[in-house]
């Protein structure tokens, strides 16, 4: 069964069309990486899923039921924009409030466990307003995890997290999906981090879904390239450009040849033209480059 199924979703804010017929399918148990430029409609879609704004048209189903079904919605955890906490209350009291909201039995035990999971057990007595951005983000994740949700909707949860925070986030999300059957929708601009955990992707642009794919499909779609280094970079580049259609230099100073048959073919070709290759490897483009390529293709660049 699909955790989320969206058909022809539209949303207008006055004259502005934020979503124009968006379709989205999130399988149960997936970590769905929701990608798109600023203003592409990611947050709007997430707010619509959570019922925080009202759709103009279309259909949203959560676990086969309408998204307004109170029983389904009671099991949705959310972190959209900033965590919804009262600044004057302590971290503990904010979590206790959310536990009361979710009718959690034995809230103290669950809160202690979640605070330990997000490595915030030492900050329980801190006032929320005195917490740093990264701490607030972790508290937001803790709030979303309370009540063992079946669906987690996270909007830019990695923002403000340090390396340790990102690692914790990865561990937590992997754990809730693999061990507790939770489904996660996560939007982020930190694609490198998203790539490490997502099992499915949805790329949205201009209020429409450009494409949806699994991590395996993305892996297959991502082109391989040959990356090499020589002492005469400009001469090498000219030579390669004469034979191959796409040659680029990356930020590390490697020349990338995208349409080469094999590394041996490139080495032989350069050797025949008097160039010695000092280093060579084959690699694949990542999600970030795939996304940039896709966007460039859509813009006709």
């Amino acid at each position: 069964m699909n955790a989320i199924e969206i058909r022809d979703l539209t949303k207008t804010f006055g004259q502005k069309q934020a979503l124009s017929g968006l379709n989205m399918t999130v399988p149960e148990g997936a970590i769905y990486g929701f990608i798109g430029e600023n203003g592409s409609g990611k947050s709007t879609t997430e707010k619509l899923i959570c019922g925080l704004i009202h759709k103009s048209g279309g259909e949203i189903k959560l676990f086969g039921k309408d998204h307004t079904d109170p029983d389904v919605r009671a099991k949705v955890g959310v972190l959209i924009e900033a965590p919804g906490c009262f600044p004057g209350l302590t971290v503990w009291n904010n979590l206790m409030l959310q536990a009361a909201n979710l009718s959690i039995k034995d809230p103290e035990t669950q809160i202690r466990k979640i605070l330990k999971t997000v490595r915030m057990e030492g900050a329980a007595s801190n006032k929320y307003k005195n917490c740093s951005l990264g701490m607030k983000q972790r508290i937001g994740i803790a709030m979303a995890l309370l009540g063992e949700p079946t669906l987690l909707v996270l909007d830019e949860p990695i923002n403000g997290l340090d390396a340790d925070g990102m690692r914790i986030m990865r561990e937590v999300l992997t754990d809730v999906t693999q061990n507790h059957g939770c489904t996660v929708v996560i939007s982020s601009h930190v694609l490198g981090e998203l790539e490490k955990i997502a099992t499915h992707y949805g790329i949205v642009r201009g209020g429409k879904m450009l494409c949806e794919m699994t991590a395996d499909q993305l892996e297959a779609d991502c082109r391989t390239f040959v990356a090499l280094q020589t002492r005469e970079l400009s001469k090498t580049r000219s030579l390669l450009c004469a034979k191959y259609s796409r040659v680029e230099e990356d930020e590390s100073g490697y020349l990338r040849v995208y349409d080469a048959g094999s590394p041996e073919e490139v080495v032989t070709y350069l050797y025949e033209n008097g160039i010695l290759v000092s280093e060579i490897k084959t690699d694949k483009i990542g999600l970030e480059e795939y996304y940039i390529d896709l966007m460039s293709a859509k813009e006709g660049r």
Partner: protein
């Protein structure tokens, strides 16, 4: 296979929402400040006006001398006694005019003789204080972003409206009771008489009961304005006070010191009507507008 979700009825949902609201109410500083002010205010009013009673002031421009009149009786700060002839006069003057006549009645009544400005410095002012409490309470939900957590897991907005109405009512009732206790203490400190001419203990209880039930008329109004104004507390406070002002003058009429079961019944019916009617309005506002 279809995923099974635990069914939560209205009772359970309301119960958990009430837990949130009461936890918030009783852990928020602003609530204790307001309730504390309600306790201290009547003491200050009664003691200070008694101290200034009979003092002469001269207008520097006209040279006119006026005498400051304090309270003659502690119960004046709670309400006024309305006689039958006053009620008839009021009903013939119409609803809005009746508002002014509420003060006139006070002036002509036994317990409320010579009140004028003093009649405004009484317990009825608390109905504006309740507006502040309700508006700040609701606005904080939206300002802090907690509304996202609330409404994500609450598809039915009825829980929120019902719970906020109950919490607002309880908060308002505590404010009213604190003011009453403060009035008793203030009267004793100022040495004012507790003269119960024209009413008895039973009527006084009915009067307080009517005032308590009348809170249920005002809270839904403030709640409807607050959910429309969302995080803009200033707008909801102004709007609530504006609308509250229109109904303010009915308070002395409906809740006199010599109130009867009829007054209690009227306030109960009004409270129920406003809570259900305006509760539905608040519900529609929440359903039709963006919650973030």
């Amino acid at each position: 296979m279809e995923k099974r979700f635990e069914h939560n009825g209205f009772g359970k949902r309301l119960g958990s929402m009430l837990k949130v609201d009461f936890r918030r109410l009783f852990t928020s500083r602003i609530f204790y400040i307001i309730v504390g002010a309600c306790l201290v205010m009547p003491i200050l009013i009664l003691v200070m006006t008694t101290m200034m009673d009979g003092m002469e002031t001269t207008d520097p421009q006209t040279g006119e001398v006026s005498v400051i009149e304090g309270f003659d009786n502690t119960w004046q700060i709670i309400g006024t006694v309305v006689s039958e002839s006053d009620m008839n006069a009021m009903s013939s003057m119409g609803a809005m005019d009746g508002a002014d006549s509420g003060t006139d009645v006070a002036a002509s009544s036994d317990a409320g003789a010579g009140m004028d400005l003093m009649s405004m410095c009484n317990i009825n002012l608390l109905f504006f204080g309740i507006a502040v409490l309700v508006c700040l309470f609701v606005a904080e939900d939206f300002r802090s972003g907690y509304a996202k957590n609330l409404f994500t897991v609450r598809a039915k907005k009825t829980d929120y409206v019902a719970s906020k109405t109950i919490a607002g009512f309880v908060g308002g009732a505590l404010m009213l009771l604190c003011f009453f206790v403060g009035a008793l203490a203030g009267g004793a400190i100022a040495g004012l008489p507790f003269d119960m001419t024209g009413f008895g203990i039973a009527e006084l209880v009915m009067c307080m009961l009517s005032k308590l039930l009348l809170i249920a008329v005002f809270v839904p109004i403030y709640l409807a304005v607050s959910v429309a104004a969302k995080q803009k507390a200033w707008l909801s406070i102004l709007g609530s006070m504006g609308i509250g002002m229109l109904l303010f003058m009915m308070i002395p009429m409906l809740t006199p010191l010599n109130a009867t079961v009829m007054n209690v019944g009227l306030c109960l019916a009004g409270g129920a009507m406003f809570s259900i009617g305006l509760g539905a309005v608040s519900n529609v506002i929440l359903k039709k507008t963006s919650l973030v």
